[in-house]
């Protein structure tokens, strides 16, 4: 060190500038875009956020530093008789407007301190990879897939598990829709999501029952900065299903009070797949100009928020409503593949005819927090109503009368309806005691679920759950963190009785009588559970390690306990089992990551054991009375083992070119029961995503320009379980391009994508429609533009 200093002094003319870049938490920020105008040469970049410009002649320079997620920095520098050392603090910028109050640590820091495997993406990522729905936009992340229906709706699948095994948290409150169903999506507006955190792995000890496979935590838009008045507009267009949409956001904040509003509307036509003829259970279906008949839809969402932001206390109200109407693929809804009035359906690709569904989700949430001496107390209280209706022409199934009776009060075309009211309350207290950071909390939820319609699958029910947890994070030293969590839950479910509205012939003692059969009895079940977890983080300069061992659980759903009817999508008769035990899962989870110079590598293996995984088992039986002659699928429990992991490798070849590989693998096997040796349903095949991104540095008025190619190679899935089918491997190429440019000092963002560039015909193993052989969307060009605006000039603002 001494030598270098001396040699620097020895050189009389040429000087150097040493820039140390740190963030708000005094952590070094490596990998920034840094330039010193008018000096030609790039600096030497050390991995710890230190950048050295060598051989500088005396004179005036301008230093510019930029980095995704941070505000840009620039400063005039005069080099004279000596070397200069300059510390620079970069401030995060998570809003499209530069004025924003930052509540969170940077992403890297949070990953370092979280014991579970965590992926965090921001609205930039969604904008860049915009899919038909929020989850489809996130599908690029390793270990994250979706169970989708068509082009506009999907549900999360984390490491091959979805439905009630993944919790979705929206604005701090568990999102409660009809999680059990595969034929509709998540009632979330993807334009309103500012930041999304995906926890891969058992997380019941934080989020309660259902987070047995992971959690998707959707954070609302960040608070606008004090004394601001602005907004943004987002415009979207897609070619495959002729989608157009817009989302408008406006906010206003004084020093301590704020209001914000957002409205989103989208309208789309039938989606197109590269196919002219499909075979659904051997029934041939001809497609008109490759359109999947009646998969059009529309969506209208409105959101309002407002509240008080003080130094020690804040309280924010959120009011939102999402509404969607979308068609079901007309040829495959009912007890058998259907011949439809093709002339009627093919007249327009935009109309929504029967069968279709309407889903409305209303939310009212209050989030408040207060700081009392050392305690941070947080509260979330929420009310949600989820109302989903399936409309279809009356078709008698089994012993239903051939003509719908006039005496019925249920509308003739209302096949099914689910109306759910949910009240939630979370209270948490965080406190720091020396090296410990303790968190104590309580979660409670009350649900009422009512049903309607002329067909029956799931009974109506009430459910109450309450959970308490204690979480301790201990900082052993600068490098190591220990975590321990313990949770107790109690839940009660009450299933309401249900009998058919029509008589069926029942044989008793050789005599046949006409009886309205009972499909659900009055059932009450209570469940108790203790879950917990221990974990460690160990962070060195280039290496981050984390490991976690834990137990999670999930209470059986009303469908698993009480289903007793025909599932029209799968042409099956589903029967619940009132004796099911809560599902338990033991999981080991680790992540090792390494970042040095141009390389970053992350490996996240996991191992998972279920002593009693709940599984819908297709039996060899048929049922004529309850199941209209369909094959009986029965809920059972089996021992299941799962393991796999994700590997991410990134190589920053040059400042403007990077290559990335994301690899994921999953293996699952049932160790007991009828399907011993088989996998579990919806197990994604291994896949690799190869990416090349070019982001030029000097691009004139355009900033942060990127051109990126994703090439996904998916292996065949031959590990299947009835009623699945083997899926062949495929490769799909997506191309993304975009950047930012200034419109009146605001950074407008433009993104263009070509999804499935080569119009490849492929089947996605985790698609809901895969079972009936519907291929995925063909080529789709997606254009989206986001333009922020500001109603105040800087003078007015200050």
């Amino acid at each position: 060190m001494l030598f270098t200093c001396l040699s620097m002094q020895a050189n009389a003319q040429l000087r150097q500038l040493i820039v140390t870049v740190i963030d708000d938490y005094n952590k070094p920020v490596p990998g920034v875009n840094i330039s010193l105008e008018t000096h030609e040469r790039a600096p030497f970049a050390a991995p710890d956020g230190v950048y050295v410009f060598k051989d500088l002649s005396p004179g005036d320079y301008t230093l510019r530093i930029s980095m995704a997620g941070y505000r840009s920095f620039s400063k005039k520098i005069s080099i004279a008789g000596h070397d200069i050392s300059l510390p620079v603090t970069l401030h995060p910028n998570i809003h499209t407007l530069q004025e924003v109050v930052v509540q969170n640590n940077t992403i890297g820091q949070r990953k370092k301190e979280e014991q579970l495997n965590l992926e965090i993406v921001r609205s930039d990522f969604i904008q860049k990879n915009l899919g038909g729905s929020l989850m489809q936009s996130l599908e690029r992340l390793p270990g994250v897939k979706t169970i989708g229906i068509g082009a506009g709706q999907s549900k999360p699948l984390i490491r091959g598990m979805g439905f009630n095994r993944v919790v979705v948290i929206d604005k701090g409150v568990k999102h409660e829709g009809q999680q059990w169903g595969a034929d509709h999506g998540l009632e979330i507006d993807q334009f309103a999501a500012e930041e999304i955190e995906i926890v891969k792995g058992a997380a019941s000890f934080i989020y309660g029952s259902d987070a047995i496979a992971g959690a998707v935590n959707i954070k609302p838009a960040a608070m606008p900065a004090a004394n601001s008045f602005g907004g943004d507009i987002n415009l979207i267009g897609k070619t495959n299903n002729a989608l157009y949409g817009a989302s408008l956001n406006i906010y206003r904040r004084t020093q301590k009070w704020f209001v914000a509003a957002r409205a989103t509307a989208q309208d789309y036509g039938d989606y197109r797949a590269p196919a002219d003829r499909l075979y659904i259970y051997d029934y041939p279906i001809d497609l008109h100009r490759s359109y999947l008949r009646n998969t059009a839809g529309k969506e209208i969402n409105t959101h309002f928020s407002g509240g008080y932001i003080g130094k020690k206390a804040r309280s924010v109200f959120y009011l939102g409503n999402t509404y969607s109407k979308s068609g079901f693929f007309a040829n495959a809804h009912g007890l058998e593949p259907r011949k439809v009035n093709a002339v009627m359906h093919d007249r327009s690709s935009r109309d929504i005819l029967m069968p279709y569904q309407k889903v409305n989700h209303f939310k009212l949430i209050n989030r408040s927090s207060i700081r009392l001496s050392d305690h941070d107390i947080e509260l979330e209280a929420g009310y949600q109503n989820n109302f989903r209706q399936e409309y279809n022409r009356y078709v008698n199934h089994g012993f239903m009368p051939p003509v719908y009776p006039d005496s019925m009060t249920i509308p003739i075309d209302l096949e099914r309806a689910f109306n759910k009211n949910v009240y939630s309350l979370n209270i948490r207290d965080r406190v720091k005691l020396n090296l410990h950071e303790l968190q104590f909390g309580i979660n409670g939820e009350i649900q009422n679920n009512a049903i309607n319609g002329w067909s029956f699958l799931v009974p109506s029910f009430d459910q109450k759950t309450i959970g308490v947890f204690l979480y301790d994070r201990l900082s052993i030293n600068d490098q190591a963190l220990l975590h321990a969590a313990l949770r107790y839950d109690r839940s009660h479910i009450h299933i309401h009785p249900y009998a058919d509205w029509f008589p069926s012939p029942v044989e008793q003692n050789g005599e046949t009588s006409q009886i309205q059969v009972t499909r659900a009895d009055n059932i009450r079940r209570s469940f108790n559970s203790i879950t917990g977890s221990i974990g460690i983080n160990y962070n060195l300069e280039h290496i981050e390690l984390k490991a976690n061992a834990g137990k999670s659980y999930r209470i059986p759903t009303a469908k698993e306990l009480g289903a007793n009817g025909v599932n029209y999508h799968y042409f099956s008769y589903e029967r619940g089992n009132t004796g099911l035990k809560p599902e338990e899962s033991y999981q080991l989870d680790a992540t090792a990551s390494f970042t040095k110079n141009k390389w970053s590598v992350q490996l996240s293996p996991f191992f998972n054991y279920f002593p009693n995984y709940i599984y819908l088992n297709p039996t060899a039986e048929h049922d004529y009375l309850y199941g209209a002659g369909n094959q009986m699928f029965e809920y059972t429990q089996a021992r299941v083992v799962r393991y796999g992991g994700e590997l991410q490798v990134k190589y920053q070849a040059w400042e403007n070119l990077s290559a990335e590989a994301l690899i994921e693998y999953l293996y699952a096997e049932q160790l007991s029961g009828d399907k011993k040796g088989y996998t579990i349903p919806f197990s994604p095949p291994p896949s690799t995503l190869l990416n090349l991104t070019y982001s030029p540095i000097h691009t004139g008025p355009f900033r942060r320009i990127y051109l990126s190619v994703d090439y996904r190679i998916t292996a065949a899935q031959r590990h299947i379980v009835p009623p699945e089918k083997k899926t062949s491997g495929y490769t799909v190429m997506n191309v993304q391009a975009g950047g930012r440019f200034a419109i009146q000092k605001q950074q407008a963002q433009i993104s263009l994508q070509a999804q499935n560039l080569f119009n490849t015909r492929y089947l996605n193993h985790t698609s809901f429609y895969r079972l009936i052989g519907l291929p995925e969307q063909g080529r789709n060009i997606v254009l989206s533009i986001k333009i922020p605006f500001n109603f105040l000039t800087n003078k007015q603002a200050s």
Binding site: H542, L603, G629
Partner: protein, 186 residues
């Protein structure tokens, strides 16, 4: 002047930032890291390759609706007030489960059949008293092939017209195959 002072202060800070992680050397870190990745990588590969176990049955059972013995066939015609014998030939590579047959009206022309041949259809009409028959037929365990022979009586008072004759067969593992035939009741 003020600027220069802050630069001097900064200069003092730089070496300390460099020193921060010196307690574990670069070499040690690299060693630890290679060991770790070797272990994790090996574990990852091992789990990925240990798949050679007793193969599971993924074959669907079959229904033969074209053999000369099979009845009804696509476009068969049945007569009200008479009995007929449904003869259904099913087979599986391992073990059959059960058969279900279902006769329901197709007065609304709600679907084709699984067969290529199209039959002559009567006009669309509203049902008054259509024939409805749903019947589960168990198959004794251990059978790889089986011929269902089921006598069915068509009541004299049901609506004549286009019907579907649906056959579903499962195997022991729960794989199901279905056939839908278009028939006519006169």
């Amino acid at each position: 002047m003020h600027l220069r002072n802050s630069f001097r202060q900064g200069m003092m800070d730089v070496p300390s930032a460099h020193q921060k992680h010196k307690n574990i050397t670069m070499k040690q870190q690299t060693k630890m890291l290679s060991a770790l990745f070797a272990i994790l990588g090996a574990a990852f590969l091992m789990t990925g390759c240990s798949k050679n176990k007793a193969s599971i049955d993924t074959e669907y059972p079959t229904i033969d609706v074209t053999s000369s013995a099979a009845f009804p066939k696509q476009c068969s015609e049945l007569v009200r007030g008479q009995k007929f014998t449904a003869t259904i030939l099913v087979a599986d590579n391992a073990e059959l489960g059960s058969v279900s047959i279902d006769i329901h009206h197709n007065f609304d022309h709600h679907s084709h059949s699984t067969e290529v041949e199209e039959c002559n259809m009567g006009p669309v009409k509203t049902p008054a008293k259509p024939l409805l028959l749903v019947k589960s037929i168990p198959i004794a365990s251990g059978n790889k092939s089986y011929t269902v022979s089921e006598e069915i009586e068509i009541p004299a008072d049901v609506d004549p017209g286009d019907y579907h004759f649906m056959i579903r067969v499962t195997d022991k593992e729960g794989w199901q195959t279905l056939k839908g035939l278009s028939i006519k009741i006169n």
